[in-house]
C-alpha cells in the first residue's frame, strides 16, 4: 500500500518535472526551432551560392573568379553597377533632401501634397517606372513619336532615371525622419544669432544631419545596386550585375558564374554595412532634442526656396506622370499607336491567372511570415540565451540581401533532395517569407518593447504556465504586430520580382514576372494593366496597414520600416 502510494507520488513528480522543464525552457526550445528554420531557409541558400562559386567539376577552384576579373565584360558590368549606385544615391539624396526640407520646414500648403506624392511610389513595384519610361520615351513612346526623336532609352541613362524615381520615397522617408528629429530650436537659435537660411543649412542643419544622411546614402546605394527589374528591363546592351546573374542562370545555365556574380553583388553590401556600423558608432547628433516636432515655417530666402521648390515639384510631377501613363497605357493595345480604348488588357487570361497565383503565393507567405515574425520577435526580446543578437541579425539580413542572390540560393539549395521544392508554390512562398521577415520581426519587437515584462511575470505569478501566458497575454498584445507583419509580407511579396524570377516554373507564372516578361517583349498594354492591378492591391493593403497602425499605435516606425 505504502509503496504503491510512493510510486504514484514519484510518477506524478517526474511527470511534473518534464512539465516544469518544458515550461522553463519553452522559450529556448522555440529559439532553437526558429534558428534551425533561419539556418535552413536563409543561411543555407546563401552558403550554397558561396560554395557553388568556388566549386568546379573537380573540387575547389578560383577559376570562376579569375574569369570574372579577367573578362572585360564582367568588369564593365561591375563598373556600371557601382556607377549606377553612386549616381542614383547622390540624385536621390538631393531630391529626397529638398523634399524633406520643404515638407518639414517649408510653407504649410506645400507640405502635405509633396509628402503624399513622394510616398506614392511605395504602392508601386519599382519596375513601374521602367514601364512608364518605355511608354513615354521608348522607341514607340509618346514623347519619342510626338517630337520624332531618335534617342536610345535602353541603356545606362534609362536605368538611372527609373531607379531614381523608384528610390525617391526611401530617400525621402529616411531624410525626413532625420530632419524631424532635429530640434527646430537649433536652427532657430542660429537664425536668431543672425545666420541666413543658407548659413543655417551649411553650419547647422547639414552637419547635424550628417549621420542620418550617410545612413540613407548607404542604404540607397545597397538597395539600388541590388535592384533587378529596372536594370533588366531598361538596361539594353549595358551590363549590370543583377540582370547579368539572371541571364547567366536562365540563359546559359551557368550556375557557377551566376554564383560568382551574386557573391560579387553581396560584397559591396557587406562592405557598406561594415562601414556603416563603423562610421556611425556613437555618432548620433540628431537624437538630441528627442521627439519629432514640426517646425514652424520660416521665411525661406528665394535663393534656397526657388531651387528647392523647382526640384521638388519636378520630382513630384515626374512621379505623377509615370503613374498616369501606366494607367492610361493599360487601356490601349499600345498607347499612342492604337487609338481605341480597350479592356482586353485587363481581361488577359495569363495576366489574371498570374495575379491569382501571386495572391495565393503571397497569402501563404504572409501567414507563415507573420507567425515566424512574431515568434522571432518574442524570442529576440524576451530570450536570455547566448546568440540572441545573432538571431536578430540573421532574421533582419534577408532584407539587405540582393533578391537575385536569394533566388539563386533557393535554386541551388532546394532543387534536389533532401528537400526538393522547385516547381511548386512553396518555394516561392518560403523565399518571400525569409526575404521579407525583417518587417514582421521589427513590428513585433517594437510592440513587445511597449509592454513590460512584468505583465507576463504577473501572469506567471498567478500560476499560468508559459504556454498559457503566451496564449492569453502575449498573443493578444502582439496581434497588431502579427497583422502588420502579415499585410506587409503580403504586399511586398506580391510585387517582388528579383528572387522569384529565378524560381517560377512555366506552368505557374507570377504577376511580377508576367509584367517583367511583357515589358521586355513590348506588350505594354498587358504589362500596364497587370501593374495597375498590383498597385490597386498594394494600395488596399497600405490602407489597412495604415488603419491598424493608427488604431493600435504601433508606431510610425512600423510604416517607415515597411516602406524601407
Amino acid at each position: 500500500m505504502a509503496t504503491a502510494e510512493l510510486s504514484v507520488k514519484l510518477q506524478s513528480s517526474s511527470g511534473s518535472r518534464v512539465k516544469d522543464f518544458l515550461n522553463a525552457n519553452m522559450i529556448n526550445i522555440l529559439a532553437v526551432f526558429l534558428f534551425l528554420l533561419l539556418a535552413f531557409f536563409l543561411l543555407y541558400p546563401i552558403i550554397a551560392v558561396l560554395i557553388k562559386s568556388f566549386r568546379g567539376p573537380s573540387g575547389f577552384t578560383l577559376e570562376y573568379y579569375r574569369s570574372f576579373f579577367s573578362k572585360n565584360y564582367y568588369y564593365q558590368s561591375l563598373y556600371n553597377t557601382l556607377l549606377l549606385g553612386a549616381i542614383n544615391t547622390i540624385v536621390c539624396l538631393v531630391i529626397g533632401f529638398c523634399l524633406a526640407y520643404i515638407t518639414t520646414r517649408g510653407p504649410w500648403i506645400l507640405r502635405k501634397p509633396l509628402k503624399i506624392i513622394s510616398l506614392v511610389p511605395l504602392i508601386a513595384p519599382p519596375y513601374l517606372f521602367a514601364l512608364s519610361l518605355i511608354i513615354l520615351f521608348g522607341r514607340n513612346g509618346l514623347v519619342t513619336r510626338m517630337f520624332d526623336l531618335h534617342w536610345e532609352l535602353y541603356g545606362f541613362g534609362g536605368v538611372v532615371i527609373s531607379q531614381t524615381l523608384a528610390f525617391i520615397p526611401l530617400a525621402f522617408i529616411m531624410i525626413e525622419s532625420t530632419l524631424m528629429s532635429l530640434n527646430p530650436n537649433l536652427e532657430e537659435s542660429a537664425y536668431d544669432m543672425g545666420a541666413s537660411e543658407a548659413t543655417i543649412l551649411r553650419t547647422i542643419t547639414i552637419p547635424l544631419m550628417a549621420p542620418g544622411l550617410l545612413k540613407a546614402a548607404l542604404l540607397i546605394f545597397v538597395m539600388t545596386i541590388a535592384e533587378f527589374g529596372n536594370a533588366a528591363i531598361l538596361g539594353g546592351r549595358t551590363p549590370f550585375l543583377a540582370p547579368d546573374t539572371y541571364t547567366m542562370i536562365t540563359g546559359e545555365s551557368d550556375f557557377n558564374m551566376g554564383s560568382v556574380l551574386s557573391v560579387i553583388l553581396i560584397a559591396p553590401c557587406i562592405i557598406i554595412f561594415l562601414i556603416h556600423n563603423y562610421l556611425l558608432e556613437g555618432k548620433k547628433f540628431t537624437t538630441i532634442g528627442g521627439k519629432p516636432v514640426a517646425s514652424e515655417p520660416r521665411k525661406i530666402t528665394p535663393l534656397i526656396k526657388v531651387p528647392f521648390v523647382i526640384i521638388t515639384t519636378a520630382a513630384a510631377g515626374a512621379i505623377l506622370v509615370c503613374f498616369a501613363v501606366v494607367v492610361a497605357a493599360s487601356f490601349y493595345k499600345i498607347l499612342g499607336v492604337t487609338h481605341k480604348a480597350v479592356l482586353s488588357n485587363y481581361l488577359d487570361f495569363t495576366s489574371n491567372q498570374a495575379i491569382y497565383n501571386s495572391i495565393r503565393v503571397s497569402l501563404v507567405a504572409a501567414v507563415i511570415g507573420a507567425v515566424i515574425g512574431v515568434l522571432l520577435a518574442y524570442v529576440i526580446v524576451r530570450g536570455k540565451f547566448f546568440g540572441r543578437t545573432f538571431i536578430e541579425m540573421v532574421s533582419l539580413s534577408g532584407f539587405a540581401l540582393p533578391g537575385t542572390v536569394l533566388g539563386i540560393g533557393y535554386l541551388l539549395a532546394f532543387s534536389a533532395p533532401p528537400l526538393k521544392l522547385t516547381g511548386g508554390i512553396m518555394i516561392l512562398a518560403l523565399n518571400c517569407v525569409f526575404r521579407f521577415l525583417a518587417v514582421g520581426v521589427e513590428a513585433g519587437i517594437s510592440k513587445l518593447h511597449q509592454i513590460h515584462i512584468e505583465i507576463e511575470e504577473a501572469s506567471s505569478d498567478l500560476g499560468a504556465s508559459f504556454l498559457t501566458t503566451f496564449y492569453r497575454i502575449v498573443l493578444p498584445i502582439m496581434f497588431p504586430a502579427f497583422i502588420a507583419g502579415f499585410i506587409y509580407t503580403f504586399m511586398t511579396a506580391i510585387v517582388s520580382l528579383s528572387a522569384v524570377v529565378f524560381l517560377v516554373s512555366p506552368g505557374f507564372q507570377l504577376a511580377a514576372v508576367t509584367i517583367f516578361d511583357a515589358a521586355v517583349y513590348g506588350e505594354i498594354g498587358v504589362a500596364s494593366a497587370t501593374t495597375v492591378k498590383l498597385v490597386f492591391i498594394v494600395m488596399i493593403c497600405m490602407m489597412i496597414l495604415n488603419y491598424i497602425t493608427k488604431k493600435t499605435r504601433l508606431g510610425s516606425g512600423m510604416i517607415k520600416s515597411a516602406a524601407v
Binding site: N185, L208, I288, G289
Partner: protein
C-alpha cells in the same frame, strides 16, 4: 524708476493679435518694457506666453499690431535681423560645436575678426564662470553649465532685448534657485532689458521687476511682484500667485476719517484698512485672505475684533512653518503658521482663534 519712466521704453507691444488658422492665441496684447527692466510673462500653460515671446523674437509672424524695438518698428524683420536674442528652454546648443564655438557662433556669423571673437568669447565665458570649458563639447557639460553657455551665447552680440523661454525648467530645484540669482545678478549688472517666460509664479516673483500675468491670450495684470501678490486684480490672479482663502462679504460702512471700513460676512464683521479707492459702501466684495497673513492662537474665549473661532482639523508641522486647516463654521481655511514655536500645544488643540488682518485686499465682485 522715475528716471526710467521719462526714458523711451525699449520694447513696445501694441495691440498684438496672433491667429493660427481660426484659432486666436494672442487676443490683443499691449505692453511697454522699460530699459534695463526684467519683465516676466507668467501664466498657466497655453496662456500664450511662449507664443508672445516667439512673436517678439520674430520666429512667428504677428497677425496684427505692432512691435517696436528701441523706437523702430520690427514687425517684418526676420529673427536674424532683429536685435533680440533668445535662450530656448532646451538651450538649443549646437551639439557638433565646442562651448567656445557655440558662444562665438553669432560673432562669426556677423563677421567679427578672429582675434576679437576670441577676446569676446573669453570675456563671456569668464562672465558665466566657464573660462576653463571653452574646448569642451556640449554633451560633456552639466545642465547648469549648458544653461550658462546658452546665456553667454545669447549675450554675445549685446542684444537690445534678451528673451528667456523657461530657462530654468530643465534644472533641478536647488540649481534652479542658484541660476535664478545668477541670471538676475548678471541682468542687473549688464542692465540688459529682458523678457522672461515661466509658468512658475514664485520664480516669476523672485526674479522680476514686473510681472505680466497672462491667461487665454490676454494680459490679466501687469505689476511689480508686490502689487501682484498683495493687490491682485481678480480672483484668477489672486489664486495663481499663491493660496487664498476667499471670503464673500459686503461693505457695511466706510469711515473716511479713520481710513477704515467694515466688511460684513456670514462669519461676522471685519474691520479693514481702507486702501482701495474704488470701493463703495454696499459693494459686494471678495476678501483675499492669504494663509500666512492670518494669525492663530490657542484660547477661544474673548470676543475681539477681527477674530473668529474655529476648529483645528489638521496641523502639519514642517519645521519653518506649520500648515493648518481650520474650520470656521462651514468654511475651511488654510493657515500657514510661520516659526511655529507652540507646535506642541497646537498638536492637540481643538478650538483655536483665527485673526484676520486689517490689511486684507478686497476684490470687487462684478455685478
Amino acid at each position: 524708476m522715475d528716471m526710467n519712466a521719462t526714458e523711451k521704453p525699449m520694447l513696445i507691444l501694441k495691440d498684438i493679435h496672433k491667429f493660427y488658422g481660426k484659432n486666436e492665441v494672442i487676443k490683443g496684447v499691449s505692453l511697454e518694457v522699460r530699459r534695463g527692466e526684467l519683465v516676466t510673462f507668467v501664466g498657466p500653460s497655453g496662456c500664450g506666453k511662449t507664443t508672445l515671446l516667439r512673436l517678439i523674437g520674430g520666429f512667428t509672424d504677428i497677425s496684427s499690431g505692432d512691435i517696436i524695438l528701441d523706437g523702430q518698428r520690427i514687425n517684418d524683420l526676420p529673427p536674424n535681423l532683429r536685435d533680440t536674442r533668445i535662450c530656448f528652454q532646451n538651450y538649443a546648443l549646437f551639439p557638433h560645436m565646442t562651448v567656445a564655438e557655440n558662444v562665438g557662433y553669432g560673432l562669426k556669423i556677423n563677421k567679427w575678426p578672429k582675434d576679437k571673437i576670441n577676446a569676446r568669447v573669453k570675456e563671456l565665458l569668464e562672465m558665466v564662470e566657464l573660462e576653463a570649458f571653452g574646448d569642451r563639447m556640449i554633451d560633456k557639460l552639466s545642465g547648469g553649465q549648458q544653461q550658462r553657455v546658452a546665456f553667454a551665447r545669447a549675450l554675445s552680440l549685446e542684444p537690445k532685448v534678451l528673451l528667456l523661454d523657461e530657462p530654468l525648467s530643465n534644472l533641478d530645484a536647488n540649481l534652479r534657485l542658484v541660476m535664478r540669482e545668477e541670471i538676475r545678478k548678471l541682468q542687473e549688472r549688464l542692465h540688459i532689458t529682458t523678457v522672461f517666460v515661466t509658468h512658475d509664479q514664485f520664480e516669476a516673483m523672485a526674479i522680476s521687476d514686473r510681472l505680466v500675468v497672462m491667461k487665454d491670450g490676454l494680459i490679466e495684470q501687469v505689476g511689480t511682484p508686490i502689487e501682484i501678490y498683495e493687490r491682485p486684480a481678480n480672483e484668477f490672479i489672486a489664486a495663481f500667485v499663491g493660496y487664498v482663502n476667499f471670503m464673500d462679504g459686503r461693505i457695511a460702512s466706510i469711515d473716511e476719517k479713520t481710513r477704515t471700513m467694515v466688511v460684513d460676512t456670514q462669519y461676522g464683521k471685519f474691520e479693514i484698512n481702507l486702501e482701495q479707492e474704488d470701493i463703495r459702501n454696499g459693494d459686494e466684495v471678495l476678501m483675499v485672505v492669504r494663509p500666512e497673513s492670518v494669525s492663530l492662537s490657542l484660547d477661544c474665549g474673548g470676543n475681539r475684533q477681527n477674530v473668529l473661532c474655529g476648529t483645528l482639523k489638521t496641523y502639519m508641522y514642517a519645521g519653518s512653518l506649520a500648515k493648518c486647516t481650520v474650520m470656521v463654521g462651514d468654511k475651511k481655511m488654510i493657515i500657514d503658521q510661520y516659526n511655529p514655536r507652540d507646535a506642541v500645544h497646537f498638536k492637540h488643540a481643538e478650538k483655536v482663534e483665527v485673526e484676520i488682518p486689517r490689511s486684507v485686499h478686497l476684490l470687487k465682485k462684478k455685478k
